[in-house]
Symmetry: C2
Subunit: 213 residues, 2 copies
Amino acid sequence: MLDTQPPGRRERKKLATRQALQDAALRLVADRGLEHVTVEDISEAADVATRTFFNYFSSKEEALLGDAPEKVATVHRLVADRPATESPLEAVHQVLRELALQQAQRREELLLRQRVIERHPGLLARQLGMYASFERALAAAVAKRPGVPADALYARVMSTAAVAAARAAVSSWMAEEGRRPLLAMIDAAFLHLCELGSPPPDPSNDPSNRTST
Amino acid sequence: MLDTQPPGRRERKKLATRQALQDAALRLVADRGLEHVTVEDISEAADVATRTFFNYFSSKEEALLGDAPEKVATVHRLVADRPATESPLEAVHQVLRELALQQAQRREELLLRQRVIERHPGLLARQLGMYASFERALAAAVAKRPGVPADALYARVMSTAAVAAARAAVSSWMAEEGRRPLLAMIDAAFLHLCELGSPPPDPSNDPSNRTST
């Protein structure tokens, strides 16, 4: 996802089909509720055969969860690929920033997906499980960064706290309806995270109030 | 719960009934599954009338979630009651430490409850909702501590990161099967949290490897 090479035509077509299936699943389930939508309905709405659906997702629930599963699969490589000169927290900050940037471009879709997920406990439970997998993958990646102590607690605290900071930024951004740019809020959240051990910052010096980024 | 006054006889009796209902609910659902246990079954196993059950819980699901709802209700007061000389993070650290201490005394029960909850998506979704309420209540309490900037992001980052650190400590403690004491791990997690902005600590200096506390 963060590859610098642009995807080839075949790859672009696959991404477009995947997105069409996700969009159709979200739209249909938002309209009718999960129990009244079948894989056949979703495939038809995206104009593909049902067996094509199963090349991308194993169930309608999976199609509804957005890109979370790929994020779990790629986070290890993303963290490993950050320059060795970056501190572990800085590397995690940059990776979560890139992942958030992809979300920022689809704010309406995100809001709708979250509403749909929260209406269905089964989906919410799956999402929770995915978040836990993401945090574990991130902690495993952090543990391999140069200079990180072997005690697993350090890597776990860093990764869960970093995800918490990113989540706080995203939910503040959504609550503010985009008044401040998402990336500025992510950066402000990580700055706050770095400063947790110090006295609270002077509010007049809050970088998220600047309009750059 | 953290009142220094010991509870009176009437209060003790209520707490005991409440605990008996929670124990019965957990035991029965662990044995039979949520759908095969009724409020009547739970009440009978705890030797109280069904209407007594409803003085304590509004549903069997609520009885299964443990003390999480009370924690949401009391966290605001607990944070407000910490001395004004403590930094916001230190106040949150002490409150989460006290709450964790109550859990540490019931490790087996906690493990069983978590297994039962994870087997039922509806319970997991409720638990997730409760965690979110707890974080919101904590953020609201942090925002009122002296010296905290008005930008809601600071209080949100601190409270979600603090809960994340406590959660990392509890799950490391469970994974280690109690090799290090829970409170030492909570303290180590908060120390790591304070140091996130600095280079990673020297592992030979890890306070959670000491056996005090």
